[in-house]
Subunit: 105 residues, 4 copies
């Protein structure tokens, strides 16, 4: 946001602020996901059939998985690449691996 | 089995209306999930670090997985058991397997 | 195995012996999987590119997932249905859910 | 970067030969996995209970997942870092993302 002198538009230093390169697209996706979650609540409230509800849950899971992959790709292209160039690649990769272990297991 | 006065138990007939046995708990969970999704939007809007965002995404994935498992368990205990007792177990189990293939892939 | 007086060819009683309905097909699949695992060892021994190795690992994961789904389907159609008919459905379903939590997470 | 006397480090050029940094450990793991797969065949041959078989299948899945994570970590630390330093990071990261989509789905 605002002005950033040069280059450091990603992952700067200790504060670790990152302007997501697909920021608006990510926000749109999250909006859709929030809507889907609300839709599932509505299905449960109106006593819809379990299998239909589960089908919607799986759609949200897929949407979240895709979102996570986008974030991982952008993070790797941005922050991790930058860390590698600055000689701090190993730490950045360990951090990435920790997140890969948590995500969609 | 035997007589069921007016239906509202589980999985009745063609309309397939099901009152979830943990209905309120499920709705509460979905509310929390919707809140978490909003939280992720907020993190992206305020340019939080990718890894922190991904950690939150993985928390939502876990919450959704747990929700799906609850739905599957209740569906199996309810609708599938009932179908088995009515001699329609194989169809109900095929339907269940189809959902298991979709869920948390 | 050996003689089985009547019908109870699945999941009988305490000893819990089960002749898998797709026994030979499952054994063939496992043979292929064992071969794929050996193939991966060979790739590592001959210093093949990591991405090619990982592609093979994902093929084995898919093969195992499909095997697990087959076992789950047969178990549900066989043992779980039988348990339901004998009034022991809830216990069988809890056991099934425990396995679903472990499998392919 | 720059000069590498006898090349055999990681990921060189078009032939893409890679000596895995944990080569012997990976081969040992694969040996154990092959043994576990054989064990599952034995369980099916001797008509063991489905749930016990599935528990073993989930153990192999976990072992394969751990193997995949090790390969991904070593690949990222090795080949991807090297590609980034050589200005070919984006292509290497796309390739990595493709594998992440396939692995443990």
């Amino acid at each position: 946001m605002t002005s950033r002198p040069e280059s450091l538009d990603l992952c700067h230093g200790s504060e670790k602020s990152v302007v997501q390169p697909h920021k608006q697209a990510l926000l749109n996706r999250l909006n859709r996901i929030a809507g889907q979650v609300k839709g599932i609540s509505g299905m449960i409230e109106s006593d819809r059939y379990c299998i239909d509800i589960l089908t919607q849950v799986s759609a949200v899971q897929s949407a979240l998985d895709a979102l996570a992959l986008q974030l991982i790709e952008d993070h790797t292209k941005g922050c991790v690449q930058k860390a590698v160039r600055q000689g701090e690649g190993d730490a950045a990769i360990l951090e990435l691996m920790d997140v890969l272990k948590k995500i969609r297991r």
